[in-house]
């Protein structure tokens, strides 16, 4: 892709790639830059930033891919990011990628770019689809009417890229900035604009930063960010007052808000241009999208179909994931054995085998599941199904203060909270995003499942499956209920509108889907590789130190008890028994054990003894660790705890355990704060303040629910 260049010969160009969502911006970006791009974040926000470059004929083009937006107002993070990037970095040229089948609305954004005073080039993308639909676009005429060069492109095929670069060159080489056209808002508004523009232009240093025309338009639109920018102007206060007066006049004169008048004028201008340059030859009498939507978005079928799709995704994920998961598990088991053989006995070996390989391995075995889940969900997203899912679920979710777009991240939460929390970035309103992230941990994740299964099988043998389903259902209800509560209290405010484009179905591209899968999986692996490694080591340390050697009398009494229980046991069995007793005593006397005893009074109202306290603490490394910890504490060893009847038997025989306690423990595991990796994800997305809030909220709710159910259950005679 990259030619050899004598860099800068003709002046390198900084290109911003912008446009509406669903315009195929990413396909154009990939076609222009090939493999040469890197992904980062815009400073301070979690919006992804993609940069790439291309060289041609001795010129280098540095291309930044901006988030897809509908307008240059500042209502969403994406809009603010795009706008600040364009204003602060002032790229040489904006390439606006537009959907040719839906030009009016895409031109609306294009005109706003033009007002920024940066040369704009329109890429009329998906021109093949438009042609197939009988939409004939005279791009030359359109370009002349609007004063913006227009180039037809087809992103996935990479066609039109040379024309696009030619147009960029032509524009760059003839830049004089004087002859550009602009939207005409009608005589009355233009008069107000001219006065504001003149006032703004009085400060030369200021208009070097902000284009006067753009600022005047935004001031009339009562844009708060534009008023904030005025603070840097010498006559800021005067201009602000005049702008308010002018927009109030427009409000009164047109009988509606000035900003809506401005939108209408823009659309009127576009209608004129479209009339001259676009002809629609025939209306296609059959649309595949419409035919599919007749069923998929049917009033009564939409929700059942959504549930069915979701169910299939999980079935396929677990069915296919089983095999690679087993390979990963044996790989890590082999690694553990290898390390055991190679290294001398001691704390270092214990750290490597039990701490690092055991901890990280346990979590890494989820990678295949996650890859498959993400593949299927990315496929649904790229096809266009996720918009339909939002349509189907918005009514329910909105009732509880969530948004139709919350559905995708929440579904991911059944797999793993970490990518789910990151997927909440698609929510444009900060409050919706916060509330979605805060309730995601209630969607019972894959690692909590072994805990539910163990306890349900031990104490509800006849209804184990139903008990697990009940816990999942309680999780969903808690997510909805907490969202409702949060929206009524700390996250109060006006409902975010649900106004979304419904894109037609599209065949997914292999490259696109794989890219999405890679992106999401990579986030997970990074987390597993760092946070989970660190927390595994930490948990290993608090469960190992201070080290404890059982006394001879302790061993003798354990041996006596064992022999009394099973007379005629072989020496090997006795030795194995003593080993598990040693492990139990070591854990009981470790820092974690001491801590468990220390906090026991706090957990008393839930019926918990210190062992459950310890298991809860170790569960912060990863929730499935709760099971192996209980295995150690009940002297059945870690290996047997999941599969065999051993741990279930041991729990049933312990006088402290009752079905009531088991249910409280399942509920408690579900509700309390998630593992360190998920907490780190919350911190990364929302900061310390919200992390603290989430932690306190979940711990408080988990404790209160657990205590209430245990106390009421005990009074009712269930314990």
């Amino acid at each position: 892709m990259r030619d050899d260049t004598s860099a800068g010969a003709k002046g390198d160009l900084r290109i911003a790639l912008a446009g509406n969502p669903n315009a195929g911006k990413t396909t154009i970006f990939n076609a222009l830059t090939g493999a040469h791009h890197k992904v980062g974040n815009y400073p301070g926000v979690t919006v992804e930033k993609r940069e790439g470059s291309r060289s041609r004929n001795g010129r280098r083009y540095d291309i930044t891919d901006l988030p897809g937006i509908y307008s240059l107002t500042a209502y969403s993070i994406d809009e603010v990011v795009t706008r600040d990037f364009l204003l602060d970095h002032r790229p040489d040229i904006i390439v606006d990628v537009m959907d040719s089948t839906n030009l009016s609305r895409h031109l609306y954004l294009c005109l706003q770019f033009q007002e920024l005073g940066i040369p704009v080039i329109g890429a009329l993308n998906m021109s093949d689809e438009a042609a197939a639909k009988g939409i004939r676009i005279d791009e030359k005429a359109l370009g002349e009417v609007l004063g913006i060069p227009m180039i037809k492109t087809v992103g996935p095929k990479g066609s039109g890229m040379d024309d696009l670069l030619d147009a960029i060159d032509r524009t760059a080489d003839t830049m004089n900035g004087k002859t550009r056209k602009e939207v005409h808002y009608g005589a009355e508004i233009e008069e107000k604009l001219a006065a504001l523009e003149a006032a703004v232009s009085a400060d030369a240093a200021f208009i070097a930063k902000f284009p006067a025309r753009w600022l005047a338009v935004k001031l009339l639109e009562k844009d708060e960010h534009a008023f904030e920018k005025l603070a840097g102007h010498v006559d800021g206060a005067m201009i602000a007052a005049r702008a308010k007066e002018a927009s109030a006049w427009i409000d009164g004169h047109f009988g509606k808000d000035a900003e809506i008048v401005m939108s209408e004028q823009r659309y009127g201008y576009i209608r004129g241009a479209v009339k001259e340059a676009i002809t629609i030859e025939k209306k296609p009498d059959f649309s595949l999208t419409e035919a599919i939507d007749k069923v998929v978005m049917n009033r009564f079928l939409a929700l059942p179909i959504f549930v069915g799709v979701l169910w299939s995704v999980f079935q396929i994920t677990f069915a296919l994931g089983e095999y690679p998961m087993a390979w990963f598990e044996s790989l890590f088991a082999w690694l553990g054995e290898a390390a055991t053989t190679i290294m001398p006995d001691g704390f270092l070996r214990s750290l490597v085998v039990d701490g690092i390989i055991g901890g990280v391995g346990g979590v890494f075995s989820f990678v295949p599941l996650i890859v498959i889940l993400f593949f299927l969900l990315s496929l649904l997203e790229d096809i266009g199904y996720m918009s339909r899912a939002a349509f189907a679920t918005d009514k329910i979710l909105h009732t509880f203060g969530l948004h139709g777009q919350s559905v995708f991240p929440m579904m991911l939460g059944f797999g793993c909270s970490v990518p789910a929390i990151m997927a909440a970035r698609t929510l444009k309103s900060p409050r919706d995003r916060i509330v979605t992230i805060l309730v995601i941990p209630f969607m019972s994740c894959g690692a909590k499942l072994p805990v539910h299964v163990l306890l349900a099988a031990a104490f509800f043998p006849n209804n184990a499956g139903n008990m697990v389903m009940l816990i999942y259902a309680i999780g969903v209800l808690l997510a909805l209920g907490s969202a409702w509560l949060l929206k009524k209290t700390v996250l109060r405010g006006e409902a975010t509108p649900f106004v979304m484009e419904l894109p037609p179905y599209r065949a997914p591209t292999v490259r696109g889907v794989l890219w999405h899968v890679w992106e999401k999986t990579w986030h997970y692996i990074q987390k597993a590789g760092t946070i989970i490694l660190a927390s595994s080591v930490l948990i290993w340390a608090v469960t190992t130190f201070p080290s404890y050697e059982p006394t001879d009398s302790e061993l003798a009494s354990a041996e006596a008890t064992f022999l009394a229980g099973s007379p005629g046991a072989t020496d090997d069995e006795v030795a194995a028994r003593l080993e598990t007793v040693t492990a139990e005593l070591a854990l009981a006397n470790s820092a974690a054990g001491t801590f468990g005893r220390f906090i026991e009074p706090v957990f008393r109202p839930l019926g918990f003894d210190w062992k459950l306290g310890v298991a809860t603490v170790t569960g912060f490394a990863a929730k499935e660790v709760v099971v192996s910890t209980l295995g150690v504490l009940y002297s059945v060893g870690t290996e047997e705890s999941e599969e065999s009847e051993g741990l279930r038997e041991a729990l049933r025989n312990d006088p402290n355990w009752t079905p009531l306690l088991a249910f409280v423990m399942m509920l408690f595991t579900l509700v309390i704060p998630p593992c360190f990796a998920a907490l780190a994800a919350i911190k990364a997305e929302l900061g310390w303040k919200w992390l603290g809030f989430a932690f306190a909220f979940m711990l408080g709710l988990g404790w209160a629910l657990g205590a209430a159910i245990y106390q009421i259950g005990s009074l009712a005679g269930l314990a």
């Binding site: 939108s263 929700l303 349509f391 918005d394 006006e494 649900f498 106004v499 484009e501």
Partner: protein, 97 residues
């Protein structure tokens, strides 16, 4: 009359937007401006969102927001569902300000 009060298949011409500023501007940005022609493609279950075709583009819009888009003319084609006036819905529909 608003686009929330007409039936599936009905065509309409937008008159004005009566919603709070942010939502109103958003709808105007999406093309709900005076004179724009559209059609109700379908309605969701139990007052769920509406699918509206505006020009060549399909837009999903929640019923409460759709109720803030008044229309000047209905070219009936569908099963009609008129007269479902729901003024004052949710309280924040106050005209402009």
């Amino acid at each position: 009359m608003t686009i929330a009060s007409i039936g599936e298949g009905d065509e309409f011409i937008v008159d004005s937007i009566r919603l709070c500023r942010e939502t109103g501007k958003r709808l105007a940005d999406m093309g709900f401006t005076k004179g724009a022609r559209g059609r109700i493609v379908r309605r969701g279950f139990l007052g769920g969102p509406l699918q509206v075709r505006l020009g060549d583009c399909d837009i999903m819009i929640r019923a409460s927001e759709a109720d803030g888009v008044t229309i000047e003319q209905v070219i009936g084609a569908g099963r009609g569902r008129g007269g479902r006036g729901r003024a004052g819905h949710r309280g924040w529909l106050a005209n402009g300000r």
